[in-house]
Amino acid sequence: MNELIFFINKVLISGSIIGSIYALGAIGVTLVFGILRFANFSHADLMTSGAYLSFVFAALLPGLGPVIGLPTGFVVLPLSILFLAAFAVTIDVMFYRPLRKRNVRPVMLLVASLGVTLMLHGVIRLFAGTSPRTFFAEQNKDVFRIDVPFETTTRDLIISEPQVLLIITTIICIVSLHQFLTRTRLGKAMRAMSDNSELALVSGINTDKVVQATWVIAGTLAAIAGTLLALDVVLKPDLSFNLLLPIFAAAIVGGIGRPYGAIAGGLLVGFSETLAVFNWSVLLRPFAEYFPEWVEIPSRLNFVPTEYKIIVPFVILIAVLIWRPTGIFRGQVI
């Protein structure tokens, strides 16, 4: 039983956590692609910016968390969301909109987003330095150890408070986004514009407003994903830049432009990673007696060494691009 719990901790819980982060990131990328038709490479650094914003607000309002009984970094999240959403809209007005007005090809917007990402990178390092920081300097990070009521188990299920918050918040985000896209006028207009932007204009849809709403949502999701990721691990300038590849893999696997696909893609990439680096010999060892004698179970048996887990989204991405370029949910071809 201990082995099973080890599996749940390492694969199911870890997979849901990293999968949630990927899903939140991929939704942001996919929505922007659906509306503006370019791959926004600055989304990961937008997430990092959100995490730093939360760090600043948490430092300004240190007493807030203990009063409510949650990590301060989480309690100040609404503030970071507000700022980052406004920031995302501002970036659009300053950099992307002038390019759109000139009817440039989408690849130019992609290049502009690379510029934005470098700029965000620089600004963060300039003001915050490169050393890692923690949200839990003055507050304890609660870790829940859940005892499994089996006689033979000694291990506990382990999940930390930020991880619980991450999973709950992700579910809330997905449900709200679904409500927004299917119930509200603006949400439906967003789906309409993603379907066919020229027809949206012809129908009299205020496309500028839809674009603005898209950036507000992208900023909101980035602030949430970045902050919760930083609460789970540590805050550093390259917090989410390294996640760019898995996030894009998730968005493309799910069918670019398809928010529900991005969720599925995020979880798929997340679980693939944890399954690939999981040490399977742990699960095999209890059955050692059933194997023929000449079979020796190695001490480590994983598909991919942990240090190389970045190849997992890479392989998924390439496989999808070769065999099903529109992704699971038949999105746009890029």
Partner: protein
């Protein structure tokens, strides 16, 4: 005149596609633009709707100059436009497509949606199906209904019957007559020139970006020269 497009010159950057064409129709009238492929028919509708800039000429809606009004504002002024291709939102349901047509409406528009289901009964059963899965004819109905959601004064239709089975063609033609009878001016681009001119109050024969003939539908049908070059003898 409901719409008066005067001496339009427009194109896509190179040589102009429209080289000084005129269109004018009254409320409740059906105007039909016919002409060979590439004559500039679609370009003419785009110019009237404001999707491309005119390098010369002007467009007037009930005497008011709208030459420099952007397309979304023209929707507000009462111009509905059904494009030649990709004219529904495929991943939205039929009802959502109609709601998008009513995006600019501030009032409660559910009665208007009900009117559309009355006008196009096949859509009522498909209200909650996604438009991408409908047949070509039903999709065309969704597209026309979507454009009618703003209760336009002028409806622009680009090849509304192309590729449809004869039964659907009759149905769409029938609906166009109903729409015009309700007082809406309808300007149609049609490949099927003969059939379209039969219902036209006024017909415009376009070739190489110029008005070749402009007359009542009946006169054009009976004109031997028009018949020879455009109606297949």
């Amino acid at each position: 005149m409901l719409i008066n497009a005067i001496n339009l010159v427009a194109g896509y950057g190179g040589e102009p596609v429209l080289r000084g064409v005129n269109f004018a129709i009254d409320s409740g009238d059906i105007g039909v633009i016919v002409g060979p492929n590439g004559a500039g028919k679609t370009t003419a509708l785009k110019s009237i709707f404001g999707l491309i800039r005119l390098s010369k000429g002007s467009v007037q809606l009930e005497g008011e100059d709208i030459t420099n009004v952007p397309p979304d504002r023209r929707v507000r002024l009462g111009i509905g436009y059904v494009t030649q291709e990709r004219n529904v939102f495929p991943s939205l349901t039929v009802r959502e497509n109609l709601e998008m047509g009513a995006f600019i409406r501030k009032d409660k528009f559910s009665p208007v949606i009900d009117n559309m289901f009355e006008l196009f009964p096949p859509l009522a059963q498909k209200a909650d199906d996604v438009a991408g899965q409908l047949s070509g004819g039903q999709r065309q109905m969704v597209a026309i209904a979507r454009a009618l959601m703003v209760s336009p004064r002028l409806l622009l239709l680009d090849e509304p019957t192309v590729g449809l089975s004869p039964a659907f063609v009759s149905e769409i033609v029938d609906r166009i007559l109903t729409i015009a009878r309700s007082g809406v001016g309808v300007l149609i681009v049609e490949q099927n020139a003969k059939r379209a001119l039969e219902i036209a109050d006024i017909g415009f024969v376009l070739a190489s970006g110029k008005n070749l003939f402009t007359d009542s539908g009946k006169n054009l049908l009976n004109d031997p020269e028009v018949a020879k070059s455009f109606l297949g003898g």
